[in-house]
């Protein structure tokens, strides 16, 4: 490699990495994903990536509510959202760094399948995404099997994460089970000593990636490389937060 080539390469590197901040948008109160005290697993993975890029990690704390892509990445408030679905078309995404599923969460009475003969009688909690006519995949699956009367919806909007409220309800006996997005519930289920069983089949599975602005290909490529290099560390963090995979 000629000297000239090397200097160009260094310049290129410094433009995207050395001299920049990595600005991440995150929810200030949405454990186990993120929290303003940086205690969520997405906070931990973002730190890892920033270190790997040699960039200073800066947060823009924004609730992940309606229009969040437009108001954050779109408005130039930040460069990345951790943990978006890999085929989420509103952003450009990295390769997935994990794949998870909706899971059954239960206490004494096991529930591991939609074919459970007691399905209709069990009191089951699900998350409600809050969009007219939309439901989580378990919401649709329960309705299709006629499990309606004992299903309880937990709106995503509320004082605590919906997954946490579902776990609390199972722990205190007002629900028998929940069917919840795994990464959201594994952490709370483990702390409450509840069991978790994967609903590992389509359409309950989603691959999760980092989202950047649609035109930020270079940052996306740099993040992809960083994710590949730190794969074992990412895995360790996901284990620590009981993210089912």
């Amino acid at each position: 490699m000629s000297l000239r080539c090397l200097s160009v390469a260094l310049l290129f590197y410094s433009n995207f990495v050395l001299s920049t901040e990595l600005r991440v948008c995150a929810e200030p109160d949405n454990l186990p994903f993120s929290r303003a005290d940086r205690s969520g697993f997405e906070n931990r993975i973002a730190e890892l990536l920033a270190t790997e890029l040699g960039a200073h990690l800066v947060y823009a704390w924004r609730p992940q509510r309606r229009g969040f892509v437009r108001k954050t990445l779109g408005a130039g408030v930040c460069d990345a959202w951790m943990g978006v679905p890999a085929d989420y078309e509103r952003v450009l995404t990295t390769r997935p760094y994990y794949r998870s599923t909706y899971v059954f969460v239960y206490g004494k009475r096991p529930l591991r399948s939609f074919d459970d003969p007691g399905l209709r009688a069990l009191r089951i909690g699900v998350q409600l995404p809050g969009n007219d006519m939309a439901a989580t995949p378990p919401g649709h699956a329960l309705a299709a099997r006629g499990a309606i009367d004992n299903v309880v919806g937990f709106p995503i909007y509320g004082e605590q994460p919906a997954a946490q409220r579902i776990v609390l309800a199972i722990a205190k006996g007002s629900l028998d089970a929940g069917i919840v997005w795994g990464p959201a519930v594994g952490y709370f289920a483990r702390r409450a000593s509840l069991s978790v069983a994967s609903a590992a089949e389509l359409p309950f599975e989603f691959a999760i990636a980092v989202g950047v602005r649609r035109d930020a290909r270079e940052l996306r490529d740099a993040l992809d490389a960083a994710l590949a290099r730190r794969k074992p560390d990412v895995e360790r963090i996901l284990d620590e937060y009981a993210v089912p995979r």
Partner: protein, 577 residues
């Protein structure tokens, strides 16, 4: 010359003591007619109408409000941050009030951060903020008299409606049905802001304020605790039925009339039952809040057909008999004529192309749903008409007792619900319906129709390129006014529908036109421009036109709007030279 001068001088005297020259509430009157007895502007002179002055609000979101005129001042409430301006008759700022509404309310509101106006009563101005506060101001000085926090934005609740003040009570309802909010209407003491009663739209009768006086016309609305029993257990607790539209008041019968939003936030398969008391219409006693009757336009709503549109109270001669009726151009595509004492449906006639139902059975009062357009998980359905915003959304119609016509600003939209796409909120991926809206038959997206409620017929209509998302106004000069999303403010002959005059504003018009007599004795017409709202969010929120599913699928039908208009709020005031 002398005779003419006398006639002009006499005109204001005729209305002395009345508030005819003022505009104190968004609908103009309690009957919600949006009719003005002012008749200086006529077909003979409307072509000379000129902008007298304008005022920039400094706010970029969609301006759906009606300006108000009372006591020699003009009042404007803006979308979030919900500034209130008091202007003098020349458009100079007398005072400005900033309620300091919580910024995070913006991320909660579904369809832009709109506000539909204030209410003037007895020297006080009442309005609501997006973050759920009702506020009373001294109308002369802008001094705050009280404020009451009503909605909880942490739960997804916001307030976008204009309050109605009647018999010393301020009536306010909530928005946010798709987020698991339970709908309600509250009455506050106009003097103190203290809550007097609260009527929920779902749940047990005691919460809904259903008691012995409740006498609905149809048997499907009779029975104990239907607000619980017409849902799966507990689902009513987050069942929607929010109250974000219009309230009318019949002073003679002493009843208020208002509609409830769609049921939510579940997919329809997961909430079997009529889902009472959503997507329907309540008549209540404003003193106690007790319900008198209820009628459900869309039992077990399948298409997001909120039932919150305006209720226009008029007296008609039907089959030779005088009837006190309520006119309701409904989101589901029918113009309803209801007996406003009993809640009986006298007629329900389509005013747009409808595929979601085949008619309304007058015996049971129920719409006959078309199973072909019923949404089912995993099934693609095409040509759902009207689309989710309905044949008509919140934008209020006007009724002229002179022509006997109801002037309806509305949409001509259908939608396909094709595949399912990955959606994502607060760390949770899920499947969403991929809703794509498109123009209905004829290819135009909006229409302005003159409807004869006695003959149940469209007398004339004007096709518009974009949905007509503004309110209507009609005057005793037989002129009807409305605005378009591409920025035209139009005056039409109320009898023939001929367009007589138009004015091009820099931003699209989704506000409610009004008219008033100035302190100089002249008739003025005023309207806010400032495109936005659910229909115009593509411009006001700078949505990506490549993402057709943005704004819950509305962006697809509005891709070209940014080529016609830019955002920004402005009050325009017009007069004859």
């Amino acid at each position: 010359m002398k005779l003419a001068a006398i006639a002009i001088a006499a005109a204001p005297l005729l209305c002395a003591g009345a508030d005819e020259g003022e505009w104190r509430m968004p609908a103009g009157d309690y009957a919600a007619t949006r009719y003005s007895a002012l008749a200086d502007i006529t077909a003979a002179n409307v072509r000379q109408l000129k902008e007298a002055w304008s005022f920039t609000t400094g706010v970029q979101a969609g301006h759906e409000a009606a300006p108000l005129v009372a006591g020699g001042l003009i009042y404007v409430v803006t979308p979030y941050p919900n500034y209130v301006y008091a202007l003098d008759m020349a458009g100079r700022v007398r005072w400005k009030f900033d309620p300091k509404a919580t910024a995070s309310a913006q991320g909660v509101a579904c369809c832009d951060v709109v506000n539909r106006g204030a209410f003037y009563d007895a020297g006080r101005l009442f309005f609501n903020t997006l973050d759920g506060q009702a506020i009373a101001l001294d109308a002369k000085s802008g001094r705050e008299l009280w404020r009451t926090k009503l909605a909880n934005i942490a739960l997804g609740e916001t307030v976008t409606m204009a309050p109605l003040v009647v018999k010393g009570k301020v009536l306010v309802g909530n928005s946010g049905g798709e987020l698991g909010v339970r709908g309600w209407l509250v009455a506050l003491d106009a003097k103190s802001g203290k809550q007097l009663w609260k009527a929920y739209s779902t749940g047990p009768d005691k919460d809904v304020l259903i008691g012995p006086a409740f006498k609905p016309f149809y048997s499907s609305d009779r029975g104990a605790d239907l607000g619980v029993k017409s849902w799966p257990p507990q689902a009513w607790q987050i069942g929607g039925g929010t109250v974000w539209g219009w309230i009318s008041y019949d002073a003679q019968r002493k009843l208020i009339y208002y509609g409830t939003g769609n049921p939510g936030p579940w997919n329809p398969e997961q909430r079997p039952g009529d889902n009472k008391w959503t997507a329907g219409l309540f008549a209540r006693d404003p003193d106690t809040g007790q319900a008198r009757w209820f009628y459900q336009f869309s039992p077990h709503d399948l298409h997001d057909y909120d039932g919150i549109n305006e209720n226009v109270l008029v007296d008609l001669s039907l089959d030779g008999k005088p009837r006190r009726v309520l006119l309701r151009p409904e989101r589901n595509g029918y113009v309803y004529v209801l007996d406003r004492a009993s809640g009986e449906v006298l007629s329900a006639t389509p005013y747009v192309h409808i595929t979601t139902s085949t008619g309304v059975d007058l015996k049971s009062g129920r719409p006959q749903y078309n199973p072909q357009t019923e949404p089912k998980a995993g099934r693609a359905i095409r040509d759902v008409c009207p689309a989710s915003p309905g044949a008509k959304d919140w934008q209020p119609s006007a009724y002229s007792p002179r022509t006997g016509l109801l002037y309806i600003p509305h949409q001509n939209l259908c939608q396909d619900e094709e595949t399912y796409q990955v959606s994502y909120i607060a760390g949770t991926p899920y499947v969403g319906a991929d809703v794509v809206m498109k123009p209905g038959p004829g290819g135009h997206r909006g229409e302005f129709s003159a409807w004869d409620p006695i003959a149940a017929k469209k007398r004339w209509s004007v096709a518009e390129n974009f949905p007509v998302w503004s309110g209507a106004l009609v005057t005793a000069g037989d002129i009807v006014f409305y605005g378009t999303m591409d920025g035209y403010f139009k005056a039409l002959d109320a009898k023939s529908g001929e367009v007589l005059w138009s004015y091009r504003a820099s931003s699209g018009i989704i506000g409610q036109p009004i008219t008033y007599r100035g302190t100089d004795g002249k008739q003025y017409v005023a309207v806010l421009s400032g495109v936005g709202g659910w229909a115009g969010a593509i411009v006001s929120n700078e949505l990506d036109p490549r993402d057709g599913t943005a704004a819950l699928g509305f962006a697809n039908a509005m891709k070209d709007l940014p080529k016609y208009t830019v955002k920004g709020g402005m009050l325009h005031v017009f007069a004859l030279p």
